[in-house]
């Protein structure tokens, strides 16, 4: 049996373990949250190194992409560097392939993304592939990176402006402690009422809300039937979205035992299946494997 573990800076309340069979191979997939405790995450990674087949880093990104430029989040890199023997990934490779494909799939097979659909991405620099794909299929996009991460009421409406601002800001911002940029630990269980009051209208004006689930959840006001495109959702999250008034949930990663896993977990699973050094894996490798596994987004009506 192959063992894949996701070590997350997120809440340990979301920990879980499942066994699945993929391409004739048994997998034990587990997620272990460290409640925002960075040192505990480093310790856990060191303990797992060499003992499991692949590790995913959750609740934090290591690499952000904007256009052809890759930005490295220093705190994420420190976690990655704690692992010496086992392949370790943060999900960014899969975001750039699977999530792009998800948008094309929804455009082709559903009526959720017709041209002109108003899409809010709460944060786009952590999902640049998806952002480009939304713009590419003719959606009217709003990237909320400045609004929700920095509290600046400035919606970005083009991929080129997103890239331009990323080039100015990310080389430095990625050096800040990660908790200043992204909700970690207990913050993931609460909502930011002040920002909801101030910026909730961006959600209400959109037809589709996409991006990292913790960010989507943290700033979500009362909705009126919007589609949510995300992953890492649990059964409780589905209840939360239903209560908020979301119309439909699309998860980009497959569901195992009632929950969709984070991209970091799924990328770690693919790495374990590919049995190639991470640095030699190409987007084409991921795409081929995803097709062989027949991964498709899950569309769940909530009304």
């Amino acid at each position: 049996m192959k063992r894949v573990v996701s070590v997350s800076l997120g809440s340990s309340r979301r920990d879980h373990r499942v066994e699945v069979e993929l391409m004739g191979e048994r997998f034990e997939i587990s997620r272990r949250g460290t409640d925002g405790d960075f040192e505990r995450a480093v310790q856990l990674l060191k303990e797992l190194d060499g003992k499991v087949d692949a590790i995913g880093l959750g609740g934090i990104d290591v690499y952000l992409y904007a256009g052809k430029t890759r930005y490295v989040i220093q705190d994420g890199k420190k976690l990655m560097d704690a692992v010496r023997k086992t392949p370790v990934v943060d999900g960014s490779g899969l975001k750039n392939t699977l999530e792009r494909e998800t948008v094309y799939y929804l455009r082709e097979h559903t009526d959720l993304l017709s041209p002109g659909t108003r899409v809010l991405m709460v944060s786009a620099v952590d999902r640049f592939g998806m952002a480009e794909a939304f713009a590419g299929v003719g959606c009217e996009v709003t990237f909320g990176d400045l609004i929700f991460a920095a509290g600046i009421p400035y919606p970005i409406h083009t991929v080129s402006e997103l890239e331009e601002l990323a080039a100015k800001l990310l080389p430095e911002m990625t050096r800040l402690p990660f908790h200043m940029l992204y909700p970690t630990g207990k913050k993931q269980e609460t909502q930011d009422e002040e920002k909801i009051k101030k910026f909730g209208h961006y959600y209400q004006e959109a037809q589709v809300i996409a991006g990292d689930y913790h960010l989507v959840r943290r700033y979500m006001p009362r909705l009126n039937g919007q589609t949510i495109i995300t992953n890492t959702t649990t059964a409780d999250d589905v209840t939360f979205l239903r209560e908020k008034g979301a119309g439909c949930l699309v998860t980009t990663t497959p569901e195992f035992e009632g929950r969709s896993f984070g991209t970091n977990v799924m990328e770690a699973v693919l790495v374990a299946l590919l049995q190639k050094p991470v640095e030699e894996i190409t987007p084409r490798d991921y795409l081929d494997l995803l097709r062989r596994l027949d991964f498709k987004p899950r569309v769940l009506p909530l009304r």
């Binding site: 400045l146 991460a149 920095a150 509290g151 600046i152 009421p153 400035y154 080039a167 100015k168 800001l169 080389p171 430095e172 911002m173 050096r175 800040l176 200043m180 940029l181």
Partner: protein, 117 residues
């Protein structure tokens, strides 16, 4: 060590960079804040005030500040001239910013929007 006058000149350069950036003014229309800039090695205090997106600079301390920026005079002058970014001195403790985390991120953001590449 920089002088009080050099810090004043750096803050005026910062103000000029800010006021030339129309997009930055739009971004900060909702962010009215008073910032005290204080040198730790010489007697030097300045007030930065953001109101309706416009930035003003004056010598001396304000009656009340939302944010306080404290560092040695050399770092302050380098910072507001854009010779260094705030991240490095902030992370190594040379630069102290007292205020809410959201406001600190936003001040960092303004500095990067003016000088960042």
């Amino acid at each position: 060590m920089a002088t009080h006058e050099e810090i004043t000149a750096s803050l005026l350069a910062f103000q000029e960079g800010y006021n030339k950036n129309e997009r930055l003014k739009i971004m900060n229309r909702d962010w009215d804040r008073v910032v005290l800039v204080q040198a730790s090695d010489i007697p030097s205090q300045h007030t930065l005030e953001l109101r309706n997106g416009e930035l003003s600079v004056r010598e001396g301390a304000p009656p009340r500040a939302d944010l306080t920026v404290i560092s040695d005079s050399e770092t302050l002058a380098d910072l507001f001239y854009g010779d260094i970014t705030p991240t490095e001195p902030y992370m190594n403790g040379t630069l102290k910013i007292i205020g809410s985390e959201d406001d600190i991120v936003r001040l960092d953001f303004i500095s990067l929007m003016i000088w960042g590449e």
